[in-house]
């Protein structure tokens, strides 16, 4: 599968990703540093003291000089600098630590999106025009019309409020992330809130594409061979129905990365998304830039992985 052509293609894409990350984060760096006073426009620092602090952080130097230093550190040494607010806090290790948390939640959400979405889509297609189909189709319309924070609120209301009081506290879902990484319940509820709207989209697409596929001649061939219906649907149908679904995988991954910003804030999950919003609200812009750089990298790599996964699913695609 990994032919010389594919490897060359991956190499090209990696160069392109590096270029994009540098360009995008530089734009953001320059844009944010155009703001007068940066992180220190707040009640905490005033007058002469402000100038002193700006000087201490090197923020009074010419923009180009600041950028040069930041870019050298960031792109050559992987050092994203220090927080403006918590002095001495290195951003790179912080961001990497938060990335693992976000990846855990986001990865689970992606599994839910693809797994649940395809399952619902296939079932709806097989049961076309029955009440099951109508129920699933309606659910998916509501699913993608429901903002993830609304779904999250409903889930919190149900699990943290209703279930807790209904079971007399026997079932306890903490409103705040307790740091027990990998706890399946703690993980699955935010992941579900994050993934379900996209699962609805996948379900819709899978249904349409499955209905198209099961009319194809090769499905009739598979039946003529005497394969079991389950094998016909899964091995011959689903594999082909997957092809149009893969085309939205890229936007889907970006959507989940974006959605995690909201979900992490609601469930107080200490991931990249919560840090991103928090740093903007705290005016801790060095962190904002650092997290954004990380995001740019993630989006680039995710798109590359998606593009390569096409070749695994559809043998007709070669790079």
């Amino acid at each position: 599968m990994l032919t010389r052509g594919t490897l060359a293609y991956i190499g090209q894409r990696l160069v392109l990703i590096a270029f994009t990350v540098v360009a995008v984060s530089s734009l953001v760096f320059i844009g944010i540093h155009q703001l007068p006073g940066n992180a220190f426009i707040s009640e905490r620092v005033r007058g002469d003291r402000l100038e002193l602090v700006l000087h201490e952080y090197g923020l009074d130097r010419p923009l180009l000089e600041q950028y040069q230093e930041w870019a050298t550190n960031a792109f050559l040494h992987g050092d994203l600098g220090q927080s403006f607010v918590n002095r001495g806090l290195d951003i790179t290790p912080l961001v990497l630590r938060e990335l693992t948390v976000s990846a855990e939640v986001g990865g689970t959400a992606l599994l839910i999106t693809i797994g649940l979405g395809m399952l619902l889509g296939v079932v709806a297609a097989i049961k076309q025009n029955t009440w099951i189909d109508y129920l699933l189709t309606t659910t998916s319309v509501i699913g993608y019309s429901m903002p993830s924070f609304v779904l999250a609120s409903f889930l919190l209301l149900f699990f943290a409020v209703f279930l807790a009081s209904a079971t007399g506290g026997a079932f306890y879902y903490p409103l705040h992330w307790s740091g027990t990484y990998g706890d399946p319940i703690q993980l699955s509820i935010p992941a579900f809130a994050l993934g379900f709207p996209y699962a609805s989209i996948v379900a819709r697409l899978t249904r349409a594409s499955m209905l198209e596929v099961i009319r194809q001649d090769y499905i009739r061939t598979a039946r003529a061979k005497g394969l079991r219906e389950r094998v016909v649907i899964i091995r011959h149908g689903l594999r082909n129905a997957l092809i149009p679904v893969t085309t939205i995988l890229g936007p889907l991954v970006i959507g989940i990365i974006t959605g995690s910003v909201v979900i992490e804030s609601i469930f107080t999950i200490p991931g990249l998304g919560k840090e991103f919003v928090g740093s903007i609200l705290r005016h801790d812009y060095n962190i904002t830039i650092g997290v954004f750089t990380m995001y740019a990298l993630m989006v680039g790599v995710a798109n590359l992985v998606v593009d390569i996964s096409y070749t695994a699913i559809d043998p007709r695609i070669r790079y």
Partner: protein
Amino acid sequence: MATAATAATAEELELAGGTVVREQVSLWVDSWRRFRRNRLALIAAAYLVLLMVDAIVTIFWTPYNMSSVGLLQPYDGPTLAHPLGADSLGRDLLSRLMLGAQVSLIVGLGTQVLVISVGVVVGLVAGYFRGILDTVITLILNVFYGIPDLLVALILLTILGTRGLFPIIFAIAVTRWMDMARLVRGQALSIREREFVEAARASGARPHRILFGHILPNALGPIIVQATFGIPTAILFEAFLSFLGVGVAPPTPSWGSMASEGVQAIRLAPHIVLAPSLALMVTLLAFNFLGDGLRDAFDPRQKR
């Protein structure tokens, strides 16, 4: 109009234009007839009209002053006088919910105005002139498709530094104009090959006249449908931004910021998060159903 020849051309053009207009009229009538049969879309449209009325009425009147803190006890539940109860500062929740529709509709419609003006021009130019211009525009479109919209909007709002409706509309439009441009480009590419455009070109019509006089009117149906689907996306986007605390500045109520306050007090007073969440959800559903109805009405072949 100096010579008889030019006069004849103008007359011919008018004739040609006349048929186009008549075709258009019957298209609209047909579409309306099909739309009327879609009950879900009609209900959605009725709800949205009500919402619009609500948004206008609340400019002049709300049941209570939306910003009078301590009108009620904080977190009070629903009563007859205050059907939705109080928020975390003791303000009347119903008044704030009614006002919240303003922000949602202004952002939703405002964004689409920007998106249509940019998307239509860019799409028409790319689709009609093709060539290098189209290549460049397509490339830019793909770059924009690759960026995580909410993150970029957040950064944009940070850089813009102000928290008003216009920066929000601007930030959303910048990250969400591509669907419209791509749609119009596709329409332009196919309509430019049709006979009446050929005829107009042969009779020496200028490009801007062909673009806005012939291609645009024929692409209007899909553009309206796309805009209808764009409105809920923008409303949702604004709700996200306000939910995260970078949207409309308080005390102006937005459904997103209200939901955010509600989540903070979810154990204490679940009604605070429920009210704006449901309002938002119903509104988004209504726009989606309306969009579905319009799409089926304008193009009955392209059913889901």
